[in-house]
C-alpha cells in the first residue's frame, strides 16, 4: 500500500476527534462525559399542559424528551412512529395546532399550552371505531404496505383535506412531500387521498373480481386510479385462459389494513414490558483498528446503568453475520469457517462495527453512558475499494487476504462457464468491451432495527422485526448455544426490510446478552445512522464485460469479470446475476466477492440481480446501439427461451411480456436512435427484461377448525409489507372452499406457528402458500371422514410439503419500458412514463400485487438515479448515511407506474402463483439507465446517474451530442 502522508492516528489526533455520530465516541472523555453524572440524576424537568386528541393532559416531562417520545413512551400513543428521529422521513408526523410537524423534531416542553392530534384521534367514532374517510380510502386503495409510514402519511393527508376538501393528485403529492415511503407505494397513497376527497365524478369502486372479462383483456386503463392515471391491468395469456376462482384473484384489502391505519399495529419498538431497560450500542469510529483497552468503569458508575457488554465479556458468534457465502451457519459449516463474525469483534473492521453496548433505565441514560466508555484503539491500515483490495500490497482485512472464501472455505471466486469462450469470440464478427459500476444501496426500510429480549428462566422471548421467525429462532438458538425450543421469536408487525431483516441480526443477540446480564427485559434501538452503517445494504460492484456478436446480432460469447465489495464480513453471496437471461452458447463468469472496510453488504431485494441486470443490459443495449438495432429487436433475438439454453421452463411468457409492453408503451412510435432529439430537453426510451427464479420448496402450515366454523390458519409469516397474511388467508379460503371471513390467521410467533421459509427470495406465496393448500386438502379429507367438529372438538390438519421440480425450471418473467426526460443543461433526469409487464403466474391478490410491482420499480428508479453511500477515502468514514444523504425518493419523485400482469397457471405453486416480491426491482435500474442513454446518446456507466455525472458526460470533449444552446 502507498505510504500515507500522515498516519491515521495523527490524522485523528491532530484534528481532535473524528466522529461525534450517535453511538460513536471520541477516544478521550469529553466535558460532556464529566457532566453526565450530574445530568442523569438532576435532569431538568418541566410541567406542561397539552391537549392530545381533544383530551387535556398535565404531564411532567424531561426537557430532553421529544414530542414523539412523550406520545409514544409516556402517553402510550404508539401509533406515531419514529423512522429516523432527525426530521428526514416523516413517519412521526402529528398535527400541532392543526399543522403537520415532525414530532421527533419538537421538544415536549415546546408544546406547553398547545394541542396535538395523532393517528389515534382519527377514527370518527371511538365507540364503534368507524374509520375516517381518509383511513377508509387508505384501506380500500392499499396505501399501507408495511404500514410504518402510514400514520405520518395520514396526518399529512388529514391536514390537507381540512383545508382542501377535493385535492388533485398534485395537491396530494405536495402536501405529503415530507412523508417518505420506502415500500414506495406512492401511487396508492395519492390515489387514496384523491379518493377521500371524492374528486372524480365516476364511481371508482374496485372491480368485484379484478378478473378478466370474457374477452380476456381489461380495458386499456385497467382498474383506473382515481388520480386518473392508468394503473393496473391483468390479462390472461391466450390460449390458456386462467380460470376464475372464488376468492383468490379478487382485489382484497389487507386483513390487517385497519390496524395499520389506526395506529393499532404494534411494531417491535412499540412494545413495552414491565421493568424494561433501554440499550444503545457504541460503535467503532475507525474503519480498521485493534481494540487495545476498553474502560467501562465510569459508564458502570452512572446511576441507571444496569449492564454493559463488550468483546471482553461476550464471545457470542453471529453466524448469519458473515458465514462464507450466506449459507446457514450450521454444524457442518461451523467446523470449517475461518472468518467468524462475533457480536463484538476485535479487531473492528468497519466504521460502525459494534464495540460495546449498554442497558440502562432509559435511553438517555444509556446514551450518556456511551460517552463515558473509554476505548483505546490502534488504528490499522484499511482499504475501501474491492479492486484495490485484491492488489498484492493491499492491507489484509483477514489473514488469508481479501478474497472472501466460499461456503467450503475455498479462496476462489464465483465461477460459471459454459461452452468455449475463446471459440465464441473467434466466431464473433464484433467484440465489444465495457465496464460498469454500481453503488452500495441501503435497504432503507422505514422501521429502524430494534430488538426486545426477555428471559424467563432459561426461556428467551425475543420481539424483533424479522422476515423469518423460523430462521431467526434457529439462528438465535445456534448462536446462543441453547435448544431452539428455548427461544420464542415474535414479530406481528414489521416496517419493511427488503432483505436486511432475515435470519437474526446482531441487535437481537446484543439485546439478548444484555437482558441476561441485567436480569431484565432489554429493548435495543438503533438510530437511523446506525441502521445505515451497522446493518447492511446491496453490494457495490465493478463489472467488466466482453461480448462477441455476429453482424446479424446473434450473441456468440459473453464474458463477465466482476468484483463485489462485501464489507469485512461475507454476509451473503456477492454474486452478480443476469447473464443467464441471454441465449449464448459460450459464457465465462468470474465474480470476486472481496472484503473491504466498509459497511457490510448483504441481501437487498433481488440480491445479485438489479446490479447485474444494470451491467448486462447496459452492455447489450450498447451492443444493439453499435449494431444500429432497436434494443427490443436485439432482446427478442437473444433472450432466453430455455433455462441456461437447455432446460425448458414450466411455461414461457417472456415473448408475450415484451410484445404486450411494446404495444402498451407505443415503443415503435416513441423510440428513436440514441440522442437524436435536438434541444436541451431530451426524451428517451429504455427497455429491460427479466427472468427470475420461482422455485418450489419446503414450508409448513397448520389449520385448526372448531365447532363454530372458524378456521385458524397457523403460518410462520410476519408480513414484511408484501401482504403475506392476506395472501395466506385468501389461499386458505379458496382451498377450503369457505368465505375469507371464516379465516383467522395465526402468525408471527414461533411458539404458535410452524416453519415458514421466510419472506425473502420471493418464496413465501409459493412455498408457504402451497403448504396452506395441502393442509387445507388434509383438513377437507378429515372433515369428509369425521364430519365437522361439535362442541369442544377440533380438527387439526397440517402439511409440510417439499415439492421438487424435475426436468423443468420455473421462472417469473417480465419487461419494463421507461421514458425519461433529461435536461441536458441542468443535468436532471425525470421519469415521465413507466410500464411494467409481469408474468407472476396467478395473481392471488391484485390489490397487493399492484403495490408490490409499483414499489419495486420505484425503488429501481432510486437506485438508478440517486442512491449511494459515499465514503471519505482518507478516514474510511461514511459521509451520507440516512434518508437525506441517500436521497431516498419522495412523493414528488415517484412517477405513476402502470402495471400489466400476464397471468398464467403452470399447475404448480398455490393455484399457479409464481414469485413476485423482487420481480420489479430486478429489471428497473437497467430500464431507466437505458432510457437515459437513449435520451442523451451518452452511456452512463456508473451508478447512480446523478446530475454531476450527466453534466460531466455532456461537457466532456467528444461527447456525442451537444446540449442545445451551447457552442
Amino acid at each position: 500500500m502507498r505510504k500515507r502522508r500522515i498516519s491515521r492516528r495523527k490524522f485523528l489526533e491532530g484534528t481532535g476527534t473524528a466522529l461525534a455520530a450517535v453511538g460513536v465516541v471520541a477516544t478521550r472523555p469529553t466535558i460532556a462525559a464529566q457532566r453526565a453524572g450530574a445530568a442523569a440524576s438532576g435532569a431538568a424537568r418541566t410541567a406542561i399542559r397539552v391537549t392530545v386528541n381533544g383530551v387535556a393532559r398535565q404531564v411532567d416531562v424531561d426537557d430532553r424528551w421529544t414530542l414523539a417520545e412523550l406520545l409514544r413512551d409516556h402517553l402510550e400513543l404508539t401509533g406515531t412512529k419514529i423512522g429516523c428521529d432527525r426530521g428526514e422521513c416523516g413517519a412521526c408526523t402529528v398535527l400541532l395546532d392543526g399543522k403537520p410537524v415532525y414530532s421527533c423534531s419538537q421538544l415536549a416542553v415546546w408544546v406547553d399550552g398547545r394541542s396535538v392530534e395523532t393517528v389515534e384521534g382519527l377514527v370518527k367514532n371511538v365507540q364503534n371505531e368507524k374509520l375516517s374517510a381518509v383511513q377508509q380510502a387508505f384501506v380500500d386503495r392499499d396505501a399501507p404496505q408495511c404500514g410504518f409510514c402510514t400514520s405520518g402519511q395520514l396526518m399529512a393527508a388529514k391536514a390537507l383535506l381540512s383545508s382542501n376538501a377535493h385535492p388533485t393528485a398534485e395537491d396530494a403529492r405536495a402536501a405529503m412531500t415530507g412523508n417518505l415511503c420506502r415500500c414506495s407505494n406512492y401511487n396508492h397513497y395519492v390515489d387514496a387521498v384523491v379518493a377521500a376527497g371524492g374528486r372524480s365524478a365516476e364511481s371508482l369502486a374496485l372491480p368485484a373480481t379484478g378478473r378478466l372479462p370474457a374477452t380476456g383483456r381489461l380495458p386499456a386503463t385497467g382498474r383506473a386510479s382515481l388520480s386518473g392515471e392508468p394503473s393496473l391491468a391483468i390479462e390472461s395469456l391466450a390460449p390458456q385462459r386462467v380460470t376464475a376462482l372464488n376468492v383468490v384473484g379478487h382485489a382484497t384489502p389487507r386483513i390487517d389494513a385497519v390496524e395499520r391505519v389506526t395506529g393499532k399495529a404494534k411494531y417491535t419498538g412499540d412494545i413495552r414490558l414491565p421493568g424494561m431497560l433501554y440499550a444503545r450500542v457504541l460503535r467503532s469510529p475507525h474503519p480498521h483498528a485493534r481494540i487495545i483497552r476498553i474502560d467501562t468503569s465510569k459508564a458502570r458508575a452512572l446511576p441507571g446503568v444496569k449492564a454493559i457488554v463488550t468483546h471482553e465479556n461476550c464471545k457470542v458468534v453471529w453466524g448469519a453475520g458473515g458465514i462464507s457465502g450466506g449459507q446457514q451457519y450450521n454444524d457442518e459449516v461451523k467446523k470449517i469457517t475461518k472468518h467468524r463474525r462475533y457480536a463484538f469483534n476485535n479487531p473492528v473492521r468497519f466504521v460502525g462495527d459494534p464495540v460495546a453496548a449498554v442497558a440502562a433505565v432509559d435511553r438517555h441514560t444509556a446514551e450518556d453512558a456511551l460517552q463515558l466508555i473509554d476505548v483505546e484503539y490502534e488504528p490499522l491500515a484499511f482499504v475501501l475499494d474491492p479492486e484495490a483490495a485484491l492488489k498484492p500490497d493491499a492491507p489484509k482485512i483477514w489473514p488469508e487476504g481479501n478474497l472472501s472464501p466460499n461456503a467450503r472455505n475455498e479462496l476462489m471466486p464465483i465461477s460459471q462457464k459454459r461452452g468455449d469462450i475463446d471459440a465464441g469470440f473467434a466466431q464473433a464478427d464484433h467484440v465489444f468491451e465495457d465496464r460498469f459500476t454500481t453503488a452500495f444501496v441501503h435497504n432503507a426500510q422505514m422501521e429502524p432495527r430494534a430488538a426486545l429480549a426477555a428471559w424467563q428462566g432459561d426461556k428467551l422471548t425475543i420481539y424483533t422485526p424479522t422476515q423469518g421467525i423460523s430462521n431467526c429462532r434457529t439462528d438465535m438458538a445456534r448462536d446462543l448455544e441453547i435448544p431452539p425450543e428455548k427461544v420464542d421469536v415474535i414479530c406481528h408487525y414489521m416496517g419493511g426490510g427488503f432483505g436486511n431483516k432475515n435470519q437474526n441480526q446482531d441487535a437481537d443477540l446484543i439485546a439478548t446478552v444484555l437482558a441476561k446480564e441485567a436480569g431484565a427485559p432489554v429493548k435495543l434501538e438503533l438510530s437511523r445512522k446506525e441502521d445505515f452503517i451497522g446493518v447492511h445494504g446491496r453490494w457495490p460492484t465493478v463489472q467488466y464485460y466482453k461480448v462477441g456478436v455476429k453482424n446479424d446480432g446473434t450473441l456468440t460469447a459473453i464474458q463477465l469479470r466482476g468484483y463485489s465489495g462485501m464489507g469485512p464480513y461475507r454476509k451473503n453471496s456477492g454474486s452478480i446475476g443476469g447473464i443467464e437471461i441471454y441465449q449464448c452458447p459460450n459464457h465465462d463468469v468470474t465474480v470476486h466477492p472481496v472484503y473491504t472496510n466498509r459497511t457490510v453488504s448483504g441481501n437487498f431485494r433481488g440480491p445479485e440481480f438489479p446490479q447485474g441486470f444494470f451491467g448486462i443490459e447496459s452492455m447489450m443495449d450498447e451492443v444493439a446501439s453499435k449494431l444500429k438495432l432497436d434494443p427490443v429487436e436485439f432482446i427478442q433475438k437473444n433472450m432466453t427461451r430455455k433455462f441456461r439454453d437447455e432446460t425448458p421452463y414450466t411455461n414461457y411468457t417472456l415473448d408475450e411480456c415484451i410484445r404486450r409492453g411494446v404495444e402498451a408503451f407505443d415503443w415503435k412510435k416513441k423510440w428513436h436512435p440514441p440522442g437524436a432529439e435536438g434541444g436541451p430537453i431530451k426524451h428517451g426510451c429504455g427497455v429491460s427484461f427479466m427472468a427470475f427464479r420461482s422455485g418450489l420448496g419446503r414450508s409448513s402450515a397448520v389449520i385448526r377448525l372448531d365447532s363454530k366454523g372458524r378456521y385458524a390458519v397457523h403460518v410462520g409469516v410476519t408480513d414484511v409489507g408484501a401482504g403475506a397474511k392476506t395472501t395466506m388467508a385468501l389461499i386458505a379460503a379458496e382451498a377450503l372452499d369457505v368465505p375469507l371471513s371464516k379465516i383467522d390467521l395465526v402468525w408471527g410467533d414461533t411458539d404458535r406457528c410452524p416453519f415458514s421459509v421466510g419472506e425473502s427470495g420471493s418464496r413465501t406465496t409459493i412455498m408457504t402458500g402451497q403448504a396452506v393448500v395441502e393442509a387445507a386438502k388434509d383438513l377437507k379429507k378429515q372433515i369428509a371422514e369425521k364430519g365437522l367438529p361439535k362442541g369442544d372438538e377440533v380438527l387439526i390438519a397440517s402439511a409440510s410439503p417439499n415439492p421438487q421440480l424435475q426436468g423443468k425450471v420455473r421462472n417469473a418473467f417480465g419487461a419494463h419500458f421507461v421514458e425519461v426526460e433529461v435536461d441536458a443543461q441542468l443535468g436532471g433526469v425525470r421519469v415521465v412514463r413507466y410500464v411494467c409487464v409481469h408474468d407472476c403466474g396467478r395473481i392471488i391478490n391484485p390489490l397487493t400485487a399492484d403495490s408490490q410491482i409499483k414499489g419495486g420499480a420505484t425503488m429501481g428508479i432510486g437506485m438508478a438515479l440517486h442512491e449511494d453511500l459515499l465514503y471519505d477515502r482518507r478516514s474510511g468514514v461514511p459521509l451520507t448515511p440516512g434518508f437525506y444523504g441517500a436521497r431516498i425518493l419522495t412523493h414528488r419523485d415517484a412517477p405513476p407506474i402502470e402495471v400489466i400482469f400476464i397471468e398464467s397457471d403452470d399447475g404448480l405453486g398455490p393455484f399457479g402463483a409464481k414469485s413476485m416480491g423482487e420481480s420489479s426491482k430486478v429489471p428497473a435500474v437497467a430500464a431507466v439507465a437505458n432510457a437515459v442513454f437513449n435520451a442523451i446518446g451518452v452511456r452512463m456507466r456508473d451508478l447512480p446517474i446523478t446530475r454531476d455525472k450527466i453534466l460531466d458526460a455532456l461537457e466532456a470533449p467528444g461527447a456525442a451530442i451537444t446540449a442545445g444552446g451551447r457552442s
Binding site: P100, G827, Y884
Partner: protein, 332 residues
C-alpha cells in the same frame, strides 16, 4: 442528547437575560427557532448546550407588517415568522415573490410549519464533514476536509480556507431584496445590511455570519419594491424536494416595459455566503433581455469560478441556470 435545561422566554428581553445568565454561570447556550435543525445537531452531539433558549415561545416575533426604516417604506418580518407563513403571506407573495418562493422551497411542509426565517438565515452548514463530526474549521479544528476530499457540493466561489456553501434559501433572496437585519443582544440592537451579515471564510472561517455570541436575529426589514418589479427564486435539487440547493438563484428585476432597468442576482449553493453577481447585474442593466444577453449573463455569472476536484459541474449548471432564470422571469 446531552442533558440540558430548556427555557421558553416570553419576551426578547427575557431571552437575552436567559442567555446572559447562562453565560455568567459558565454554561453553554444555544438558541432555537423552529428547532428542527438544532435538535438534530444536539442528537448527534455536534452541539451540546447546557441551556437551550426557545425563541419561538416569544409571542409577537412572527408578525409581518408595513414599517418604515430611516424614512423608507418597507415591510418588517419578525425573525420567528415561519417559512410556511412567509410563503403564503399575501403581501410577501405579491411584492417579494423571490422571498415567498425561496421560503416555499425549503425542506417539507412539516419543517416549514415550524422553521423560522431567522433560523433559516442563521442555519449552520450542511457540509457532510461538519455534520459527521469531523473536527474542521467550523467546530474548533484547523482544516477543511472537503478541499482534498469529497467536494461535489462545495463552493466554486469565495472558498478558502473553508469551502462550505451557505445552506439557506431565504438568504440569497434577502440579499437580492437589499434587506436589513435587526440584531439584538447583550450590547443592544444594531441594524446590518443583509449583504454585510454573511462572512467569508477568509475573514472568519469558524462562522458564517457576524452574529455575536448571545445575539439573535430579531427581525428583517425589506424596502418596498419599485414599480414593475419581478422576482423569482429558482432552486436546483438532487431530488424533487427535501434537499438543500445544489445551485440556486434569487433574481429581482426592475422592468420598464421590456427593458430591464436594474437587476439584483444572488446565487445560493455556490459559495460560503449568498453570492451576488454585480458584473452580471451591470451587464443586463438598461438592456432588453434577449436570449443572447441571457446567455452572456450566464457566461459572466461563472467568470472567475474556482472549482474543486469534484464540483466542476456546478459551472455549466450555474451558467445554464442563470440564463434560464433570467429568460423565464423576463417572459413571465
Amino acid at each position: 442528547m446531552k442533558a440540558f435545561t430548556n427555557a421558553n422566554p416570553k419576551t426578547v428581553a427575557q431571552a437575552l437575560t436567559f442567555i446572559a445568565d447562562a453565560q455568567k454561570n459558565g454554561k453553554s447556550v444555544a438558541v432555537a427557532g423552529g428547532g428542527s435543525d438544532m435538535l438534530g445537531m444536539m442528537k448527534e452531539r455536534l452541539l451540546t448546550p447546557d441551556v437551550l433558549v426557545h425563541l419561538r415561545s416569544i409571542p409577537g416575533l412572527d408578525q409581518v407588517k408595513q414599517e418604515k426604516l430611516g424614512g423608507v417604506t418597507g415591510i418588517a418580518i419578525g425573525g420567528q415568522t415561519t417559512l410556511d407563513a412567509l410563503s403564503h403571506h399575501d403581501l410577501v407573495r405579491r411584492q417579494f415573490a423571490v422571498l415567498a418562493e425561496a421560503a416555499g422551497t425549503v425542506a417539507t411542509p412539516q419543517i416549514r410549519n415550524v422553521a423560522t426565517l431567522a433560523g433559516n438565515v442563521c442555519q449552520r452548514p450542511w457540509c457532510w464533514y461538519y455534520r459527521n463530526g469531523f473536527k474542521c474549521l467550523k467546530n474548533g479544528g484547523n482544516r477543511c476536509f472537503s478541499v482534498d476530499g469529497e467536494n461535489e457540493f462545495h463552493a466554486i466561489f469565495g472558498g478558502g480556507p473553508s469551502y462550505i456553501v451557505h445552506p439557506s434559501d431565504t438568504s440569497p433572496a434577502l440579499v437580492a431584496l437589499d434587506a436589513r437585519f435587526t440584531l439584538n443582544g447583550a450590547s443592544g440592537r444594531r441594524v446590518v445590511p443583509a449583504a454585510e451579515f454573511f462572512t467569508l471564510p477568509s475573514v472568519n472561517a469558524a462562522r458564517e455570519n457576524v452574529l455575536k455570541d448571545g445575539e439573535v436575529l430579531e427581525s428583517v426589514w425589506i424596502p418596498a419594491p419599485g414599480r414593475a418589479v419581478k422576482s423569482t427564486y429558482h432552486k436546483i435539487m438532487d431530488r424533487e424536494a427535501w434537499t438543500h440547493a445544489v445551485v440556486s438563484a434569487a433574481v429581482v428585476l426592475e422592468m420598464e416595459n421590456d427593458v430591464c432597468r436594474s437587476a439584483r442576482i444572488v446565487l445560493g449553493g455556490v459559495a460560503p455566503i449568498p453570492w451576488r453577481l454585480p458584473d452580471v447585474e451591470k451587464l443586463v442593466a438598461g438592456q432588453r433581455v434577449t436570449p443572447a444577453l441571457a446567455a452572456q449573463a450566464g457566461e459572466a455569472a461563472v467568470a472567475g469560478a474556482r472549482p474543486l476536484a469534484k464540483n466542476g459541474y456546478k459551472i455549466p449548471l450555474t451558467r445554464a441556470m442563470v440564463t434560464r432564470t433570467l429568460q423565464t422571469l423576463v417572459n413571465a
